[in-house]
Symmetry: C2
Subunit: 381 residues, 2 copies
Amino acid sequence: MFKVIHKDKKTNARTGLIKTAHGTVHTPFFMAVATNATVKTLSVQDLFDAQTEIIVSNTYHVFVRPGMEVIKKAGGLHKFMSWPRPILTDSGGYQIFSLALLRKVTDEGVKFQSHVDGMAHFFSPEDIISLQKILKSDIIMPLDECVHYPCQRDYAEIATRRTTLWAQRSKLAFNNIVSKTKGKTSAKDKQLLFGIIQGATFKDLRKQSLDALIDMDFDGYSIGGLSVGEPDNLMQDILSYTIDFIPQDKPRYTMGVGTPEQIVESVEKGVDMFDTCVPTRYGRNGTAFTSEGKITLTNARFIKDFSPIDKNCDCYACKNYSRAYLRHLCNAKEILGLKLVSYHNVYFFMKLMRDIRQAIEKDRFGEFKKDFLKKIKKDEN
Amino acid sequence: MFKVIHKDKKTNARTGLIKTAHGTVHTPFFMAVATNATVKTLSVQDLFDAQTEIIVSNTYHVFVRPGMEVIKKAGGLHKFMSWPRPILTDSGGYQIFSLALLRKVTDEGVKFQSHVDGMAHFFSPEDIISLQKILKSDIIMPLDECVHYPCQRDYAEIATRRTTLWAQRSKLAFNNIVSKTKGKTSAKDKQLLFGIIQGATFKDLRKQSLDALIDMDFDGYSIGGLSVGEPDNLMQDILSYTIDFIPQDKPRYTMGVGTPEQIVESVEKGVDMFDTCVPTRYGRNGTAFTSEGKITLTNARFIKDFSPIDKNCDCYACKNYSRAYLRHLCNAKEILGLKLVSYHNVYFFMKLMRDIRQAIEKDRFGEFKKDFLKKIKKDEN
């Protein structure tokens, strides 16, 4: 299901293909985040226009609203949200820990109350697999325990051990469903299961976690617990350490990473998959990514700036609207403004990934990275 | 600039063309409302897709934000908002009376404080003309005094007299600018000036108002002060009375009207132009117009309804998304939901106007009206 196409001659960056039930995607890729079964502000056509090949959604969020009965009746998440291309679903573990109320974590699973209606629920690792079977996501993430930074050693040990235990139970549950439904399912139903490496900022725990997961042989490996409040150099250090132990023939995913800078740094180390709500969240706040760094459109300096967000961008927003107009819309809290900037940002991230893949295939990722980082240093923030 | 193309044989409904600086538009038409220089939630492409020929914006709103300096520097409102087709601008008098703070109205004009930043301003009728010259709107509305329902006879008299006085001063200011700029302006700068008939619900005041305006010979006539809280039958009665005195060869415009029912009723009487924020305002509340009446998508009955908003509609929202999905989006306050329902509603109104024009040209407007009203009686509200 994963094939490395080209390795950059001077770095660990690589291009590849992941074959999923709903289509093949080019790595390294970035997934826009469709938390509530929608990439915030964007239609499916907008995502097509931005050349989006795969998006990420969230089991916890979809479970609490609209609920699994609705998704089941729709025939899965793709049909519900009218998105025909691949979807990766996170377990939502991270969201339960950060968003849900009155949660209690034991080895059995996690008890919580929905942040939407306060209803009490319990998720075991097996539940999370079953729910993602109903979602029909192309790539499934197991339940894990993600800790925030900084995390005490003793709690990091507990969370790492628990994540490993849950990974075993998830794998077993996944295999059971696969063998039970053998012969009854079509290629459209084939799902991939990834393992999530935890261990906070402790290298020995990271090693324990990944060794155990690699023994279980997952379809890909996610490096979890990054971008959770730690300094950027510590994140890159843990990433560098961890990634070297992941088999070359498996896709590597850094969950929740990151900014354009972090993506470029991580691709260089050999990461294949990214996701973050940064482009849409920043977009809704009027901050736009450009080839010369971020700009905050609500700033007074744009009041009579009739140039596009980014003169090097050919997205709909840049081809049709000025900074002055978008500034006005964002200041007036007009939905069109939030949408156009979000759209531009997603387009910018997608274009960045295409540029990255092209640079790798020309064995010039190092130069690309240097140029890119130099240009965006003009960043106003 | 206005030409009647076809008069329905059995009603007063008619089709026609209005030629403006930015293009020719088919009457009867409906204008989506671009209060803050944006039809709420919709891009210019969305408006094109809905086959929108003309939109309405608002002098007061644009004046307070982003301000005339910005619009002037942009080269007018069309360029600022990237909308190349005709724009009618209301004076914003109605908004000053309903939205601005600490207003004081005298024969000289209106003193008010901006609802955005509290800044004090004064608009004379001449100012309103000058501002709309800067906006470069295709159709200009003069400052008028619109009263709410119910209105005492004595105040209605004052407001009617003042509206007539302001109309004279507006016409004079408009003609002065036209003669001063003669030979220096292109066809793209040619603007049309309408008169606004007031008189509240008093027929003799309506007659006085319209007689005075017709003497001044405006490019078109708006029947103002409708849809301001009066019962529907009273509105239709005042409209019927007033419209008969407007010259046949001038376009007639009912400002702020209305619902699909009101539009159909008014077209029958010979109205050519409509505007209201109903489609976008209802859209943002999750209420959709359909060929079988309005539906409120957030209702529980749509939770597993995977049919489109309107099976007879071929808009992007109806071709791609289900009621269940839109319900979910609206419930979760997701911007995509508010946008898709707004888009559908604007599309619905535009399609209604196309259907109306077609029915008139086939001399079957009466049957069309009967069928249309019968079908939408299924309206859930």
